[in-house]
């Protein structure tokens, strides 16, 4: 079985999303599921940036913050419908990513890491300091999306958690489909070429700066939409969504499962989203366990969980 193949990935994803609810004993599981999909979406964006293009960002929670606060602020101040507000947030994120990305992406490795980190921290600082607009560290309310009511009028009656499970699952499948398509497109090939060697890619005529920027802007849009979805389903948002730890979580999920494959990265989102839920009984140990998992996976499975497992399965089969 080839995990990189597009149809397999999408089939597995759709099947799991559709079948899992059969085993859900309570609405709490729908809630965790939709959180997984929201994180999965951000992580899919990072697959494009980290896995395809080989660039790192420790500031992508900044874009999630922009997406989230767009849903909270645009309906109030610009009179936009919450769904349009999410689109507005995505456009804003893309614009900012475009402006910030050009100078930032000239940097490499640790320099790129610290520059993107600085950007993310600036966004979260603005969100928590401009209290008159954003409610500061206490956060602010987000209006209802209203799609559930529309569905009810056409006879589909879903509970709140069920709706968000289905809706964010759908957006995740869509996002995964786009990312997988990108992989096999000329842009995807250019990204992978510059990942392999920037100089080699430039030599064969790839506009390295342009394609890095494409990956950066795309992943920013993914993060932004993920932030919007989170805000809309929680109906409440705090600056934590843009915080440094959230950026780290996003990158960890991506690399944990395997940055090179969409499915792997989503698996990383599954693990790191459910881990704290499972560990609530051992809340004292949550940080200890999270740190340990991060270190162990990176030391012993450098390609990430899924590719490592896939390789060992394949190795045994041969």
């Amino acid at each position: 079985m080839r995990f990189s193949s597009k149809a397999t990935t999408l089939l597995i994803l759709i099947a799991v999303i559709a079948i899992a609810p059969v085993f859900f004993p309570s609405s709490y599981y729908f809630r965790v599921g939709s959180l997984i999909f929201v994180n999965g979406l951000a992580v899919t964006g990072l697959v494009v940036l980290i896995g395809y293009a080989g660039q790192i960002s420790l500031g992508h929670a900044g874009f999630a913050g922009i997406g989230a606060y767009a849903c909270a602020l645009a309906p109030v101040h610009l009179g936009l419908h919450p769904a349009l507000a999410a689109v507005f947030g995505a456009a804003l994120s893309a614009t900012i990513a475009f402006l910030v990305g050009r100078p930032i992406l000239r940097l490499k490795g640790y320099y790129l890491a610290v520059a993107s980190l600085g950007f993310g921290i600036l966004v979260s600082m603005v969100l928590s300091n401009e209290a008159r607009l954003t409610g500061g560290p206490d956060g602010m309310a987000v209006p209802e999306l209203g799609l559930r009511g529309v569905l009810r009028t056409v006879g589909v009656d879903l509970s709140n958690t069920e709706f968000w499970y289905a809706f964010s699952g759908l957006v995740l499948v869509l996002g995964a489909w786009l990312a997988l398509n990108l992989y096999h497109s000329p842009t995807g090939r250019a990204l992978r070429a510059l990942h392999g060697s920037e100089i080699a890619a430039r030599t064969v005529g790839v506009d390295v700066a342009h394609y890095k920027l494409v990956a950066f802007v795309l992943s920013a849009v993914y993060a932004s939409v993920s932030g919007s979805l989170l805000a809309l389903q929680n109906k409440f948002i705090t600056p934590d969504v843009a915080g440094f730890m959230h950026s780290i979580e996003m990158v960890t999920m991506t690399v944990l499962g395997g940055a090179g494959s969409v499915l792997g990265a989503i698996l990383g989102a599954v693990i790191l989203t459910t881990l704290p839920q499972v560990l609530t009984i051992f809340q004292e140990y949550e940080q200890l366990m999270l740190g340990l998992v991060m270190m162990l996976v990176m030391i012993f499975m450098r390609q990430g969980l899924l590719p490592s497992i896939a390789r060992s399965v394949r190795g045994r089969g041969e």
């Binding site: 000239r106 320099y111 600085g118 950007f119 780290i248 990158v251 960890t252 690399v255 940080q287």
Partner: protein, 290 residues
């Protein structure tokens, strides 16, 4: 100008701590090409262990010594258990490993000790000293003197001792260093021990002023990292100057612009420095091998 002087003095105090963290970064970065995001946790450990040893009845100097030695041991363990097994891993993996280590240390600290903020008495009392209309705490002088002393010792170590030169050789080219008979594993162990001990010392010195708690490490790591980058990654002189500059800059922003955005100023300047001169103030230009 007592106001300006006051901001300058408090900026230099904070900057001295950033400089110590940045020096710790620099040592590990030079020896192993790893940026250790757990560097701030060493500072936290220095303060926390000293407090609890002191609270258990040990005299302060002994408590501080125990804290520094224990933190150095943790630094060595970090290298042996997490960094060495991952040698040759990509930058992203190394970033995640050291961030994982920092989260792990934080989690362990909150379990073993507690989640409270702690402080132990200043070394020479809390009576502020008047300088030209501004005041400075005696403890601030300890912090500044500590940073300068460490910088001077490091300079002596790297330029005047054989083992210091061995560390530089390892940093320059690991395989070549091995070929001329340098025990590079020992060099790595030593670098992590030194770096952790310097971090712990910073924690011991600054805790009477800023207090300490299990979660103070991350912010310090980020600032120290920024300072190291401002000065030029891997350059001890850059770490010192970068740290002091960053501290003063923050104090000026807090004083004249907005105290809420003092952290922002630091990152804005770092972004500007990275864009204008990506190698930092004292860094050398490097080229890539194809």
């Amino acid at each position: 100008m007592p106001e300006l002087l006051q901001f300058l003095l408090s900026g230099i105090t904070v900057g001295a701590v950033y400089a110590l963290v940045a020096l710790g970064f620099t040592i590990i970065y030079n020896a192993s090409d790893v940026v250790n995001f757990a560097q701030g946790e060493f500072v936290m450990l220095g303060g926390m262990i000293t407090f609890f040893a002191h609270a258990a009845g040990l005299p302060l100097p002994l408590a501080a010594l125990i804290a520094i030695i224990a933190t150095a041991a943790i630094g060595v363990a970090l290298n042996k258990l997490a960094i060495e097994p991952a040698r040759g891993a990509p930058v992203v993996s190394l970033i995640i490993i050291t961030i994982g280590a920092s989260i792990f240390i934080r989690g362990a600290t909150q379990l073993i000790f507690d989640k409270q903020l702690h402080r132990f008495p200043a070394f020479s009392g809390d009576q502020p000293i008047l300088i030209g209309g501004a005041t400075i705490l005696p403890q601030s002088l300890w912090v500044i003197a500590g940073a300068l002393a460490i910088f001077f010792c490091l300079w002596l170590f790297f330029t005047r001792t054989l083992i210091g030169r061995a560390v530089l050789a390892t940093a320059n080219n690991r395989i070549a260093a091995q070929l001329v008979g340098i025990n590079t594993n020992y060099v790595m162990t030593l670098s992590f021990a030194m770096s952790a001990a310097i971090g712990a010392l910073a924690g011991v010195l600054v805790t009477p002023i800023t207090l300490t708690g299990y979660d103070v490490g991350l912010a310090l790591a980020l600032k120290g990292f920024a300072a190291a980058m401002l000065g030029g990654m891997g350059n001890p002189k850059g770490a010192l100057v970068g740290g002091l500059l960053l501290g003063v800059l923050e104090a000026m922003t807090a004083g004249y612009i907005s105290s809420q955005y003092k952290d922002a100023a630091a990152f804005v300047v770092i972004l500007a420095v990275l864009f204008a001169m990506p190698q930092g103030l004292f860094g050398r230009k490097s080229t890539d091998r194809v």
